[in-house]
């Protein structure tokens, strides 16, 4: 071995610049935070939209379905009939069309045929007993969540089956019975006791409050408003809900050749479209204009396409018999100043009477809650009850769905049932209700049962479109839902349209920006001129090296999905 001679180095090496803590230059600081996507914050059922779409994107529909079922037992139903406010809130909306969230949800729901129901695991038994009155979507959702929390649940239902308006009112051309059945499989799986043929009164409820640890009232709004005009009691004049209920019970009423439907809501639309399918010639009478109709826009459009005639600005005055048939005496209206509901008040036009011949008249001007109980007066404490997640003046009685002060859609019913279950559980386990509410509400909107169960914290902020960096998303065509031609669909009660194909659903899911949830895209890391991004996620998001970050804000700008925000540095 030869000995190495120590040599003078040719170059003196320098030190690095780590001693230079450039973080002290900073007056703005990037804050990384998981946020709620606007779609998820607005979903009345509280669907975990970003997480199920992320799985759908990868083609992992089992997991996608499992995510949904944490929050909503009825994805096949909601994917079909929900008016999808999520899509209007979608950050992609003004860019190149919202993500067709409902179509993806529908596919995931139907995927239960292959994956199985994917019901989450039930918590250990708590020994608490909960009664639910009414097996509509609200009662079912409440029962579902309460059962998952380990409570023993009994549902008491007046009719002979579960489903509420899903099976009693929404016609098969929009919601086939098999679809509802698929979503309702959880009743057996979670050992929920369903007692049918039990009509419960207000005093029964108060008695039950003594026998059960809590009672959730979810009896819907089934009392049809009366027109209050002469001739309303004549044979052949039927309330819309009754008409639809009979039809769904397979004792289809035969509407006369000429049917007049009075009203402009969903009940009016479905009654009209069902009567049309049963062979009637249908005219809808509505006292305001198309713009004020409370029915879902899609339903109105489909009714028009199917050839239903609309007489706007027309109201009935009287119904008379005329030989074997009837006559509806009507009056034209004009729009006056706004009423309490914020819609213009229809005002009769003098001397504008006209007549319509009718064999059947279907009245569908709205439904109200049949229940009249001391613990709940539907008009007085509406807002309080809604803010209190269904808690009433009786601390063992809760109310949800259409029976309570909630918007009347299936998704709202599911969401309010979930809130009631959580309010019940929080009460039974002695949790601070206000703290729970705060913790599990996403961006002030939707509520997550999964977050309630896990003890985590729901994201408080919602990603606004201005926080999205659209440069990172190519414009792509939106999935167009399949439909059936009007002349084809009016031939019967077969379902309109179809669930999208898997490829199309995956492609649509890939359009999702994943707003508010870090996908580890690496933009912040890549574009930081100070190499100050710590990419190892902590709580699901990266962080900054505050020793060197100069607070330039490039990371916040270049984050595609609104996770980073600049805040003023504490002095």
């Amino acid at each position: 071995m030869t000995e190495k001679k120590t040599q003078e180095p040719l170059i003196y090496t320098t030190q690095d610049t780590l001693g230079n803590k450039t973080g002290s230059w900073r007056y703005m600081r990037p804050v990384f935070e998981t946020k709620a996507a606007p779609c998820a914050a607005i979903c009345p059922a509280g669907n975990p939209i970003v997480s199920f779409i992320t799985f759908a994107k990868e083609g992992d529909f089992d997991s996608a379905l499992r995510m949904i079922k944490q929050e909503n037992p009825l994805p096949s139903v909601c994917g079909r009939v929900c008016p999808h406010p999520c899509t209007s809130a979608c950050n992609r909306y003004t860019y190149d069309g919202s993500v067709a969230i409902n179509e993806i949800e529908r596919f995931c729901g139907d995927f239960a045929e292959q994956a199985g129901p994917e019901i989450p695991e039930r918590a250990g038994a708590t020994g608490k007993k909960i009664a639910v009155v009414g097996a509509g979507p609200a009662g079912l959702s409440c029962a579902y969540q309460a059962a998952l929390m380990g409570h023993e649940v009994t549902i008491l239902e007046a009719s002979n089956r579960a489903g509420g308006l899903l099976t009693q009112a929404i016609p098969a051309y929009r919601l086939p019975a098999g679809v509802v059945r698929r979503d309702l499989c959880f009743i057996d799986i979670l050992n929920i006791i369903l007692l049918t043929g039990k009509t419960i009164t207000a005093s029964d409820i108060e008695k039950m409050a003594a026998d059960y640890d809590a009672v959730a009232v979810a009896c819907g709004a089934h009392k049809s408003y009366r027109l209050g005009i002469e001739g309303e009691e004549l044979a052949g004049v039927v309330p819309g809900l009754e008409f639809l209920r009979k039809m769904s019970g397979r004792a289809a009423p035969a509407p006369g050749a000429k049917t007049v439907v009075i009203g402009g809501g969903n009940t009016a639309m479905d009654a009209a479209r069902a009567a049309l399918r049963l062979g009637a010639e249908v005219t809808v009478l509505y006292r305001r204009t198309r713009a004020e109709m409370p029915a879902f826009p899609g339903e109105i459009l489909e009714a028009e396409e199917e050839g239903i005639e609309f007489r706007f600005l027309s109201a009935p005055v009287k119904i008379e018999t005329s030989g074997k048939t009837k006559k509806v005496i009507c009056r034209e209206m004009e729009l006056g100043s706004d009423d309490d509901s914020g819609r213009p008040r229809p005002v009769p036009v003098e001397g504008s009477e006209f007549e319509l011949d009718a064999d059947t008249v279907i009245t569908a001007i709205g439904e109200t809650v049949a229940l009249d109980a001391p613990f709940f007066s539907p008009n007085e404490n509406r807002r309080q009850i809604s803010n209190a997640w269904g808690r009433t003046t009786n601390d063992r009685i809760f109310i949800c769905g259409d029976a309570g002060p909630n918007d009347r859609t299936v998704a709202h019913a599911v969401g309010s049932g979930k809130r009631a279950a959580i309010a019940i559980d929080a009460q039974l386990s002695g949790k601070d209700f206000e703290a729970v509410k705060q913790r599990i509400t996403l961006g002030g909107g939707a509520v997550s049962a999964a977050i309630y169960r896990s003890g985590a914290e729901a994201p408080a902020k919602v990603v606004a479109p201005q926080a999205v960096n659209f440069a990172y998303f190519m414009r792509t065509a939106r999935l167009e839902a399949a439909t059936t031609a009007p002349d084809e669909r009016i031939k019967g009660f077969g379902e309109i349209g179809a669930t999208a194909a898997e490829d199309a659903v995956r492609a649509e899911a890939a359009r999702c920006f994943t707003c508010g949830v870090c996908t580890e895209c690496g933009n912040c890391f890549m574009f930081c001129p100070d190499m100050s991004i710590i990419t190892e996620p902590r709580n699901g998001v990266p962080a900054t090296d505050t020793d060197y970050c100069k607070g330039c804000g490039i990371c916040a700008r270049e984050c595609p999905r609104g996770i980073i925000e600049m805040e003023e540095e504490n002095k």
């Binding site: 320098t14 030190q15 610049t17 780590l18 001693g19 440069a471 890391f525 190499m531 607070g551 490039i554």
Partner: protein, 297 residues
Amino acid sequence: MNVTVEQEFVCRGHVACPGCGAVLAMRYVLDVLGKKTIVVLPACCWSVINNRYPTAAVKVPLFHTAFETAACVATGVRAALDMKGDNDTHVLAWAGDGGTFDIGLQALSGAAERNDDIIYVCYDNEAYMNTGIQRSSSTPFGAWTTTTPAKTFKTKQKKNIMDIMAAHRIPYAATATIAYPEDLMNKVRYAAGIRGTRFLHIFCPCPTGWKTAPDITVELSRNAVRARAFPLYEVFDGTRYRLTHEPAQEDRMPIAEYIKPQRRFAHLTEAEIQVMQDHADEEWGRLMKVTETWPAG
């Protein structure tokens, strides 16, 4: 993002202004070239960014040299390495627009004419920033600088350095910018794989000199491409052209929108902005014509 920086050759604690685009350019280029690289650095912002001796932010050997000498010093370093039998270390001349378009042009032209085996990067922040924002021949028409104040803003168009380099028929010349790291790194990778004089013109927005918020550096870089103020393309052997990124129809933006957040252009009238627009359209049209007439294989 389809690419990442695997190895950091720029150290935190460097003293670039917050939001400096030139740092990102160095970071991406060195990641591709790797540790067997010697940087030759004339006077420019980067000689400050690197921090004072005995510290250095760049973690490969770096040679500070005079303002006008980037290319010839790089040639000399190359010759020394070759004499040592080391022909796989990259020699990277890294100069600003002033050091390239103006004072260093003759040295660069000499090296290019000899086809010396160096990679020359001009990081272009469109003025002499280091000395306090003086006009260079790369400063665009209309811009305010301290030597072209708003009242007598610069009335000459930006010099087309790519045409000059193409005229030398060097094996490779390309434009790149920091908002498109994948494109940038691909170009560096290609350059690293061949021999001879390779020239990269890297557009680097400068918040301080452009009077812009530091957070929009990358956005400005992207918008320059979208507005066709800075097209991304490459030229092989000085004769064959290829566009590497064409902004989608919906992503195109007028020059007016690109310059809007840059307060160095705040004084311009609509008519003056139109002059900029016409110039950009004309240059783009010419580029389209050459890419069609002499496409790269």
